[in-house]
């Protein structure tokens, strides 16, 4: 899978959840800054799993416990790229 494409698609998913244009999503922005609440986080992760046919190890009760880092758009994209490589590589 083309990795630059991954970034664009993730940003589209996050933008839709935040009700923003993809061009307004800065790579260093946190989900909190984008106005995405906890329900929005799990919905985004569901959309990402569906889009890339991957399983994201994320438990809303302990968001820090998994390797999947959701602290910013950049870390999410990096995490997804790694999961795609692991699960489809």
């Amino acid at each position: 899978m083309e990795m630059t494409n991954v970034r664009d698609r993730v940003i589209r998913i996050i933008a839709e959840q935040a009700v923003l244009e993809p061009s307004d999503i800065r790579p260093e922005a946190t989900l909190d800054e984008l106005g995405i609440d906890s329900l929005g986080v799990v919905e985004s992760i569901f959309a990402i799993e569906e889009a890339f046919d991957i399983s994201v190890p994320f438990n809303a009760n302990e968001p820090q416990a998994s390797d999947f880092d959701i602290s910013s758009v950049d870390t999410i994209v990096a995490g997804i790229e790694r999961l795609i490589a692991e699960q489809h590589g």
């Binding site: 329900l39 919905e43 569901f46 569906e50």
Partner: protein
């Protein structure tokens, strides 16, 4: 105890997407039952129902709301919007703190269950949308109404099959009457016209395949419907003080349990509920001009209900009018009592009695004035609304003209 009045009403159902549309359809004796339009309908033996047609959720709700609202919640919110707008109330401060919402539903988010079971069982997928639970839970509709209108008092959902709405409204009535709340939003909603929802009812073999003809000798079963009815119940003095338009007074209720059979109705249980509602309202049987029947169109319900009416009212049973509007909108299951309360409001407020349509042949076991086929004008002081649920749980409300 305080007096309780209705200051707002809202609905969406097979007869209309507002109260005025619905009452007009009832006055005209229009039928909202037709061919079901749903996925896999060709695998159903029962293919008719009272579906809400021409409803586009996207016109009422945004994408994020749609992700969270099952159809039964959508119906509830549409009906609540109309009712609360009519009441003209804004909930803040102390009024918000004591006002709540009590709603009835039998199945809650049935189509959400249905769609997601398809996903995991039929399509073999191992992932479902994260909002399945908050969308299907029976209290979802009540919770979204509370959030939309800032209702911070007692809110919950009542589930007693076909009597859910009447039990819910009886609770709300009690809360206002006892002074716990000055205003309660109440009613009910149901939306189970999806493949699994209809298939389950089909299994019971009590469904008609052509029409709902309550009290008619050739009746052959019930027909499912969908929709919601929501009302604003308000303390009489509170409503008067702010100059609100009063649609009707809620004067009494009663609930009984047959304690007998899980599906067969009981004459005694139904009679005790009607007699109890009269006693609670402090009205004599002779004052009742109209009964909105449970009137499902099954063999058992209609004759049992008529026998119960005869027992409670004696000779007056032959003078009062009793109709089943399910002949027009179908059986809305947990939402049915709420939509049917509209017919009672129309009777006491407008002096128009909704008919029992589809009436073709008299049945000696249902020998009451069932207002066959055409609406009628009549002055009515007190009206009863009957609901007798599977499981033998009965709830009857009494309304009075104001």
């Amino acid at each position: 105890m305080g007096r309780v009045v209705i200051t707002g009403a809202g609905t969406i159902n097979p007869l209309g997407q507002s109260v005025p549309q619905t009452l007009e359809a009832m006055r005209e004796g229009r039928c909202g039952i037709g061919q079901l339009e749903l996925r896999d309908v060709d695998r159903l033996a029962v293919r008719i129902g009272g579906q809400v047609k021409g409803f586009e959720a996207e016109q009422h709700f945004n994408r994020q709301q749609l992700a969270l609202y099952d159809r039964f919640t959508q119906f509830t919110l549409i009906a609540a919007r109309e009712a609360i707008a009519q009441a003209g109330l804004e909930f803040s401060g102390e009024l918000a703190a004591s006002s709540g919402v009590v709603l009835g539903t039998a199945g809650g988010g049935v189509s959400t269950w249905d769609e997601n079971y398809r996903t995991v069982y039929e399509e073999g997928k191992n992932r479902v949308h994260p909002f399945v639970v908050p969308k299907l839970m029976n209290n979802a509709a009540a919770s979204h109404v509370s959030m939309e209108y800032n209702l911070k008092g007692p809110s919950f959902t009542v589930s007693t099959a076909c009597a859910s709405s009447n039990h819910a409204m009886a609770q709300a009535f009690q809360m206002v009457r006892l002074g716990m709340s000055r205003v309660m939003v109440t009613g009910g909603s149901e939306s189970m016209l999806c493949f699994g929802g209809v298939k389950a009812w089909e299994g019971l073999r009590v469904m008609s395949r052509d029409a709902c003809r309550p009290f008619s000798a050739n009746r052959n079963g019930m027909v499912q419907g969908e929709g919601a009815g929501v009302f604003v119940f308000e303390d009489y003095d509170h409503a008067r003080a702010r100059g609100a338009e009063i649609l009707a007074e809620v004067v009494g209720f009663a609930m009984t349990s047959d304690a007998a059979d899980i599906v067969m109705p009981s004459k005694q249980g139904a009679a005790r509920a009607m007699a109890g509602a009269l006693r609670d309202a402090g009205v004599a049987g002779e004052q009742v001009g109209y009964i909105n029947a449970h009137g499902t169109g099954t063999l058992a319900n209609d004759k049992t209900e008529c026998a119960a009416v005869a027992d409670v009212f004696g000779p007056h049973a032959d003078r009062l009018m009793i109709s089943s509007t399910k002949s027009m909108h179908g059986h809305l299951i947990g939402g049915t009592g709420a939509v049917e309360l509209l017919a009672c409001i129309m009777a006491v407020r407008d002096g128009v009695i909704a008919p029992t349509i589809g009436y073709e042949e008299p049945d000696p076991e249902c020998a009451l004035d069932v207002v066959p086929n055409a609406a009628r004008e009549a002055e009515v002081d007190v009206a009863l609304s009957n609901a007798f649920a599977f499981g033998g749980l009965n709830a009857v409300l009494a309304l009075r003209r104001i």
